[in-house]
């Protein structure tokens, strides 16, 4: 069964999907369409909080596909499901305990998982990624970025337009910056290898710390 919901302009999409795998597609349209099979979906527009809240039942473990307007802000909460956001979104917050989180493009992104991987392909502004054991990856970041992980590996592509801060316990860290960037670099690992061949300057701050992970800062 497909649910169609009118979405007033300016509302953000808030999805609560504990165990379902969630696929959210941003495309040219004005409403929201939800395909969750026969599962009962609860929806509630909350203009006071600026949100359209969609609740997926706890016992639904299949895939739920949501189609929403392009550029919409989205906040997604999951426990065990994977979260996949396709297309261009506004500000995105997404978190899961064991599921992975993948976002194609956002103006701002905060992605978090305990054991799953988190990844944003293109983030125009501020980006924050946090995991415990999952990998953290960002393809192209136009703003500042903060990443923290325990054992996950980190791979970032910074445009050099904002500060880069990475904390890792045992995960390896790889950061690429434009070849002409001259960041103030502060990288250290207690027992890992640190490799940074960039010319240093003060155009932005690039700080990576790890206990046992290797750190590599490379020119793109």
């Amino acid at each position: 069964m497909t649910h169609r919901i009118e979405m007033a302009e300016g509302l953000a999409l808030c999805m609560l999907a504990p165990n379902a795998d969630l696929r959210v597609v941003a495309e040219e349209r004005a409403d929201v369409e939800i395909d969750a099979g026969d599962a009962p979906i609860e929806t509630k527009a909350d203009p006071a909080k600026g949100k359209l809240v969609v609740k997926v039942p706890m016992d639904l473990r299949g895939e739920v596909t949501v189609r929403c307007p392009e550029g919409v802000d989205a906040s997604i909460a999951s426990v065990a499901g994977d979260v996949r956001l396709e297309g261009r979104f506004g500000e995105v917050t997404a978190n899961s305990k064991s599921g992975s989180v993948w976002v194609e493009a956002a103006t701002r992104a905060e992605l978090r998982s305990v054991s799953g991987a988190v990844e944003v392909g293109d983030c125009a502004g501020y980006c924050r990624l946090a995991t415990t054991s999952g990998d953290a990856k960002a393809g192209a970041i136009g703003g500042a970025v903060k990443v923290c992980t325990v054992s996950g590996n980190v791979s970032l592509g910074s445009a050099g337009l904002g500060d880069v801060t990475v904390k890792s316990i045992s995960g390896n860290v790889s950061v690429s910056v434009p070849a002409d960037a001259r960041p103030a670099v502060r990288c250290m690992s207690l027992v890992g290898r640190v490799d940074c061949a960039l010319e240093k300057g003060d155009s932005f701050s690039l700080g990576c710390k790890s206990v046992s992970g290797d750190i590599a800062v490379v020119a793109a």
């Binding site: 808030c14 609560l16 504990p18 906040s75 997604i76 909460a77 999951s78 426990v79 917050t93 997404a94 978190n95 305990k97 905060e110 978090r112 305990v114 946090a130 995991t131 415990t132 923290c148 992980t149 325990v150 054992s151 904390k167 316990i169 045992s170 502060r186 250290m188 207690l190 027992v191 700080g207 710390k209 206990v211 046992s212």
Partner: protein, 182 residues
Amino acid sequence: MLAPGAAFRSKPGTFVFTDLVGFTEYTAVEGDEAALTLVLAHESKIRDAVGERGRVVKSLGDGLMLFFDDPCDAIEVSLGIQAEFEGGDDTADLPLWVRIGIHHGQSMVSRDDLLGHDVNLASRLVDLAGPGEVLVTEAAVNRVNGISGVEFEEMGPTLMKGIPDPVMVYHATQAHAQAVPA
């Protein structure tokens, strides 16, 4: 242990869980003695920061459970702990990162311990935090209107295992000092 049917005492307050991140990895790299020194240093710094504003309920091995009557104290002390662990010197105290979860609600008193749903929620919250982060639930944020020197940034709703309802969570950070015009 209390006898069945014994009256429990309810106590409202703010529950804080701290976790020393990467303790297992640090132990593997540096050995047991260094790891024990690290844990003791971690506990000592936190106990100093808590002082008389709250109390250490119990040690959890590589973390602590704290209790505060006033959520403002809980948040200010937690940010103070992070500032202390971050340090001004980049080369100092590298492995001493903590993550912190804060929630306000009710608990049941059992001798020196505190138990209950809200305590469990605070405990779950710290699992979501990354090294150096202080995460605070909406229930705590709503009780600290006007707290100065602290910024809250919405992290969005979260679903936690065993907690039926979504919980709105915020990052707490020290507010940046405003530049004074010359």
